[in-house]
């Protein structure tokens, strides 16, 4: 599980350095569009299903335009041990009132709201993962800073991101060493684990001291500078405007109902 999570982190990072239309958009534009999308999805009432379906267009566009392997992201979405699923499962238990009938089969309101939660979960999580798969993490941090996040928080994010890879590797070594010396599950309890945490803690502090000295000798003054500059282009503005326009359209118009009427007319 742990190797897997680590690999995913690295793979997402690799994906984010692609060079497609979506990758080239300014991080601010993508962040804004993603947030607008999530808020729109979440604003749907409890029993909405059909209204949510047209919104699948946004992730599909990002997948195909950004050249992101759909299988990888979808696997990750399934893999997320979801609080939403855990809590949503209770809806069919508590709301057994028949809400609608479906070809003579009565469907309770609980199942409808459960399905609605699942759809919302799928849409919001997929889009959040697509944001980071098409935008480098330093790019996201830069966007946050430009949008008014305090500098200390942004540099904290950048530092954290840099050192996750280093320290996780160290933790991996520790775990591997422990597991190799453990026979029949001995030494896997809390007490030895605490000692391992402590060791890792001390190594962390020592590493921080070395990092600080290295930074000082390179002229660190308390702020991080990025060599790359971002600027908003017409494409970015167009992307944001189009996204918001379609979000509004899909939110206010009954697209599925319209398509249903169209298909009915065509069929008969």
């Amino acid at each position: 599980m742990f190797d897997n999570a680590y690999f995913n982190l690295g793979y997402l990072d690799t994906l984010s350095y692609g060079n497609t239309v979506i990758h080239r958009l300014d991080p601010r534009a993508k962040l804004l569009a993603t947030l607008a999308f999530i808020v729109t999805i979440v604003s749907f009432p409890k029993h909405e299903i059909t209204g949510l379906l047209p919104f699948l267009l946004f992730p599909v566009l990002l997948f195909s335009l950004g050249d992101i392997p759909a299988k990888f992201i979808l696997k990750k979405v399934l893999y997320v041990s979801s609080f939403a699923v855990f809590i949503g499962v209770f809806n069919p238990l508590f709301d057994r009132q028949t809400a609608t009938s479906f070809f003579g089969l009565s469907v309770s309101g609980g199942w409808i709201s459960f399905l609605s939660i699942m759809l919302k979960f799928f849409l919001t999580i997929t889009v959040a993962l697509l944001l980071i798969a098409t935008t480098s993490f330093p790019g996201v941090c830069h966007a946050l800073q430009k949008m008014g996040m305090p500098e200390i928080f942004v540099s904290q994010l950048l530092f954290l991101y840099r050192y996750i890879f280093v320290l996780v590797e160290e933790a991996m070594k520790i775990v591997r060493a422990r597991d190799m010396r453990s026979f029949g599950g001995r030494g896997l309890g809390v007490k030895p684990a605490i000692n391992l945490f402590g060791t890792l803690f001390l190594r962390t502090v020592e590493r921080a001291e070395r990092v600080y000295q290295a930074m000082l000798s390179r002229g660190f003054t308390g702020r991080l500078n990025t060599p790359r500059t971002y600027c908003l282009t017409i494409a970015d503005a167009l992307f944001v405007c189009l996204t918001i326009f379609f979000l509004y359209l899909f939110r206010t118009q009954d697209i599925v109902g319209f398509m249903g009427r169209v298909s009915m007319r065509v069929l008969g």
């Binding site: 979440v42 047209p54 267009l57 200390i152 991996m172 605490i194 009915m264």
Partner: protein, 342 residues
Amino acid sequence: MADALLSPAVGATFWAGTLGTIAYCSKKLKENLDEKLIPLMGVFGAFIFAAQMINFTIPATGSSGHLGGGLMLAIVLGPHAAFIVMASVLTVQALFFADGGLLALGCNIWNLGIYPCFIAYPLIYKPLVKPGSSSGRIMVASVISGVIGLQFGAFSVVLQTLLSERSELPFNSFLLLMQPVHLAIGLAEGFVTAGVINFVRAARPEILESAYSARPVSAAISIRKFLAGILIATVVIGGALSWFASSNPDGLEWSIRKLVGSPGLREAERSATPALTSLQGKTALLPDYNFRQSGEQTNRGVDSGPASHYGTSVSGIAGAGLVLFVVLLIGMMIRSVRRKSF
């Protein structure tokens, strides 16, 4: 907490609270900035990540029990820096592991950051533990703080879910589900935190001592002020949210119908709400918040014949199918065009 269980009002409210706290902590850190703290914070954030990778055999359950998170950070770095580190860890988790989602991130930072850093640590741990305290005392203080912090966190998850009105779980059952599970997690968190602190104290006591002395003496007062601020904000936000919730005809009407089961009451109730509904229409982010819902409800309320039901479901399925088909077609077309162009 997860995006799918949140309403925009609740998500935005907690984001506002979280952003305010991040800004406050950044300001506090900047005022007496020790340059050394910046790399230390960054590396400690990564430490929390790495520590989560070291698993141990204990019957651990729960959704987001981030072991050795907020409390340990607060003890080592002080509450302000600890909150910033916690927020950054949760942000990376939300982005790369899709843990919860981006709207729920505000709630998650609040639940896992505010309570350990600004309630459990300053109000429980700090008064109990002095630099010369015995390791047993550290253990007791840290277990109590761990439990209290996580109980607050679990309670606020329940509150956020209920205010959002996406889940059907009744308040009592949800509370009974969450609090005991997080009691176990809190005990484990406190136990492990104390173990690590004692280990570090035995090996390199100067690390913790410098952390004690580095903290400004006036911090306690400002924390109290800050807590008072939070309390006021909670009351105001709670009031505003409950007003939101009660002015939303959907949830209330529905629960009344479920409780009483008489349409007469619903009608009486409905006649009283137009003013509120129109008010909500003006204040809501999206003006048609309840538009389709009310349509669906009248559909449900009026018992039309099976024929019309049949008609609507066929047309609904055809429409949904067509939408999905068009969406997939667009995706596949773009993909094949891209393949060819390379």
